[in-house]
Subunit: 290 residues, 2 copies
């Protein structure tokens, strides 16, 4: 999907969020906002939002001389999620359809975002049962997975990766070979190799460097390894909004697991903000999904 | 008060609001956002927010060739408020302290803003009794008014002017001579001479052209008439956030009547968003308010 007009105020809001993490002063904030706007004025308007988020984030990193402002928050998110892990596993094991429950757990993890993550508790997990599933292509996903040998799982945020691990384990129990793709460089609170390892995913899946340094997958900049897996994997699972924004128009079948977090994505999906989405998507070619 | 970093995303959000009123398409919105950001990159960062809002609004007007996008909305707001007028008068007349009630009615009017105004009903007026008054300098205001002969009343929005009329009438009943200042040119939904006349204020007060074409009072660009009144009036009443943002630092005593509508103003006032403010303000000189 391409940038929407509503994304521009949101880019600036995101700048302020990073500034808050960096404890920037008022004048520093204004200076970096001006630099970001100077970039946005000349930036393309017909690319997915994460293409610009990447540059915006690089401007902030350079301005403050900090490569990975969310490092501590990511570590704390992973730790907090690992404390919940035994309970999440129990939830899945005790359910009638453990695959479905694991898919839902993975999406629950998608609400972990930014600094608020530390406050996430088991009660939040329980509350999740009441959130509407606006699009539910689980039957199609289940059918595809039953026939699949390989799964490419495109990760999203730190903390969330622990919830992803629950689904990855379930897939491995089903006999699938799982490849877990992460960002190549720190970008906001997105999961890198370090986070996937902290979550213990490397015990069950091969961690794959996607090549992306954006909060999504910039498909023409991915590694060769990712490109092959993306083409050849029997099932591709994509977590979160950023991956959806960059991959919704790519010509292959992808199962998107996410919560709709902004009005633009919610409207595109015909959903409300906060809704759970299990979407069989990807661009239709000649009337058929590849 | 000067622009806060948080104002920048808000400027862009305001652009989108005007675009919605103008029923602009997605590409038109992006084009005007880029123009606005190009302006903001070079704009001063140490002036009150309405100084920049004025330019932002001019860019949009020029882009779409529309001088007064809110004309119809303003007319509708005035009409709607006039329907409530008899009830508002009754409220004031039946109260124990009719001046206090009229002040509160005037502040109730401050919630009328943008397109939402049409939906405003008497129930909304009643709900107002439950809203906290975070700062209440009414006793000081009352004391000042009792001794005053002249009052400069700086208006804010269309629709709201009908609520202002109730307070203006109360002041006239108290024997005061009232001057009602309006914007010189249309800016967003701010009240111009036309709106004050539609509200019938000209029957009770002299309408004064402030010289301002910003959503506030740009003090070094006001008319001579306004300047004299501002200096010499016994009491100055200022309605709304925009006037507060531009006048809070001016060296004379001003009574600000408003609701805190954004986090920046709320924080500055030590209030919560939505709170009612009756503030004796203005810059302190040599330890005393002028």
């Amino acid at each position: 999907m391409v940038i929407h007009a509503q994304c521009y105020p949101c880019f600036l809001r995101q700048v302020l969020s990073v500034c808050d993490v960096l404890k920037a002063g008022e004048e520093e904030k204004k200076a970096v906002l001006v630099k970001v706007m100077r970039y946005l004025v000349g930036a393309p308007t017909d690319v997915p939002p994460p293409y610009l988020s990447r540059e915006v984030y690089n401007i902030i990193s350079k301005e403050f001389g900090v490569d990975d402002p969310y490092r501590e928050i990511k570590k704390a998110s992973n730790k907090m999620a690992l404390r919940l892990y035994p309970e999440l596993k129990k939830r899945v094991k005790e359910s009638e359809d453990s695959l479905y429950e694991a898919v839902k757990v993975a999406i629950i993890g998608n609400i972990i975002d930014f600094g608020a993550s530390q406050d996430f508790t088991l009660e939040d997990v329980d509350l999740f049962d009441d959130i509407p599933i606006a699009i539910n292509h689980y039957p199609e996903l289940k059918e595809r997975l039953e026939r699949a040998e390989t799964v490419l799982y495109i990760g999203d945020n730190a903390g969330e990766v622990v919830f992803d691990r629950v689904l990855v384990e379930e897939l491995v129990d089903m006999g699938k070979r799982v490849f877990f793709a992460v960002r190549s460089k720190p970008i906001i609170n997105d999961a890198t190799k370090e986070d996937a390892e902290e979550a213990g995913i490397d015990e069950f899946a091969e961690i794959v460097d996607s090549g992306s340094d954006a909060p999504g997958v910039v498909i023409d900049r991915v590694t060769e390894r990712f490109k092959h897996l993306f083409r050849d994997a029997d099932v591709v699972l994509s977590k979160g909004q950023g991956n959806f924004e960059t991959l919704d128009d790519v010509p292959r079948e992808i199962f998107f697991l996410l919560r709709a977090k902004c009005p633009v994505v919610a409207e595109k999906l015909g959903a409300n903000i906060g809704d759970i989405i299990i979407l069989r998507g990807g661009r239709v070619c000649h009337g058929l999904l590849l």
